[in-house]
Symmetry: C2
Subunit: 310 residues, 2 copies
């Protein structure tokens, strides 16, 4: 029976590896499980930023410079919004808008988020399976020195400036994982799991906060690897290191090993980050270039991960 690879990922960082995997695996063999903790409703539109980033990247229509959205985007709608509405901090492009309008429309019709995602991905010619981590809303919520706020307020509206004290994943206990994913887990269809280099707190932990997914990974029937989101103890992009520090931890390989202790067998990391005195001796540290500057880097890292899981 054909075995599939399950990749967990968030937005910008993780999607690079997800794209690499989509280039080296047949589409039927790849399942990408995406963080939806950043999802929010904006002017009545259901927005799923990470699902869209993955979809646009796999479709080859993504804006590589910005890291999100569609390439050659225009902003007529946003300009009208900025003129008329106070809440105009989230950037919705003219070409990007249909995704949110159709998602909102279909969700209101009672279609599940995973089916909506499949439909949208199909529109864009994407045939790998992209699953939301939950059919129901699970929201990443941050306690900061500027008050409590949703992920998008923190990330976009306040540009990651507030100091984070605590992070919660609201309604994670009521989460409903996609039925098809549940079937794949029950039928032992996966041969390995890859945690993409996404922010542990903001992109991966929301997924792991859902018990059936956590249980599946802790089961240890199949190998699980994580790719470090840091190089030389620095974030490749985004607030990873900033948040680790604010939560009183040290951004290091030892931190990552501890963070993923219960679920991973391998940590793929940059040579400079290798830590030989680790207490987590059950996790194998494997060094390779993890900075993905172009599609070749993405494919090379993807192939390396797949070999390790064999």
């Amino acid at each position: 029976m054909a075995k599939k690879i399950l990749a967990l990922c968030g937005g910008v960082g993780g999607v690079k590896l997800a794209l690499g995997l989509s280039k080296v695996l047949p589409s039927k063999d790849l399942v990408i499980l995406v963080n939806t903790g950043d999802d929010f409703v904006y002017h009545g539109l259901s927005v799923s930023p990470d699902l869209d980033t993955v979809m646009y990247a796999l479709a080859g229509v993504n804006d590589e410079i910005k890291g999100w959205g569609i390439q050659d985007e225009t902003w007529k709608f946003l300009n009208v919004l900025k003129k008329f509405e106070k809440e105009s901090w989230f950037q919705l492009g003219d070409k990007d808008l249909l995704t949110h309008i159709e998602r909102t429309f279909l969700l209101n019709e009672g279609v599940s988020l995973s089916k909506v995602t499949k439909k949208l991905a199909y529109n864009f010619g994407v045939h790998s399976s992209i699953f939301p981590m939950s059919e129901t809303p699970v929201s990443t919520y941050l306690s900061t020195n500027k008050g409590e706020m949703s992920f998008q307020e923190y990330f976009v509206k306040f540009q990651c400036k507030p100091i984070v004290n605590d992070i919660q994943y609201l309604n994670n206990k009521e989460a409903k994982i996609p039925e098809l994913l549940e079937e794949m887990i029950v039928n032992e269809i996966f041969s390995g799991v890859i945690i993409c280099p996404s922010n542990p707190y903001l992109s991966i932990d929301p997924i792991l906060s859902i018990q059936p997914i956590k249980n599946f990974l802790m089961n240890r029937k199949i190998p699980v690897l994580a790719v470090s989101p840091m190089i030389n103890s620095l974030s490749v992009k985004g607030p990873t290191v900033k948040i680790i520090l604010e939560l009183g931890k040290t951004p290091s390989t030892e931190f990552l090993l501890g963070h993923y202790e219960e679920i991973i067998d391998f940590l793929i990391l940059d040579e400079r980050d290798k830590f030989s005195g680790s207490r987590y001796t059950n996790i194998q540290q494997v060094c390779i270039n993890i900075l993905m500057r172009n599609i070749e880097d993405k494919k090379l890292l993807a192939e390396f991960c797949l070999k390790l899981l064999q």
Copy 2:
């Protein structure tokens, strides 16, 4: 006490006179009551074509050549829609989209259509009162040789080609007129009513199908005039004459007089259409140029109507 003028109108044709009225009357003295029988939900968005046409015209942002939508519009969103969805016949522009998104958002929040309309008009700097004919949906529905269809399907999707056998205004009995309009009627705040040169069947009759509005006009406490939508027995624009013929009537002044018999005191018409042998002797036919080619024509006709109502 200041008296107001009530203008009934639909889209393209009638809005020309509504604009003229807005230029010659102080905004506090003009109330425009707009057909919402064309309203529909498109990809989950609540679209009110006539309300928007009136709003954009009064704001001076309308596309005068097309007769609807916003000037200097772009179509990135529509191009994506056309690529992905079968139902892409209705033209939503990038600048126009916010209107529909905000309307949908606010209606879903429980805000009434008249309050939504006020908010949107305010955005665009429009201070005359624009009222929907009903807070609740009343839908113009056509029986044709191609089957039953909504107004937008007939008008946009099938480009007025089907032959019309019958027209209904669904849910008109449950219509709820805007509370503020009701108060104005009760408080006898209007000194006259103008039926703009819109299609009688498709733009004016939906409004008249709402009993409290019909009753108010039949009351005859104040003068009511209609401006003919025809010149030399031809439609100025749109399918007016075609539909009159398909419904077995003769497109003529006599038809219009009969159609509005119960409610009007004056019919303003082109010299060529004057009919001296009319059986409707209680309605005065008044001739003047009713072709509005530019803003001066619109203002002249508006002033003429206002004088007649004095």
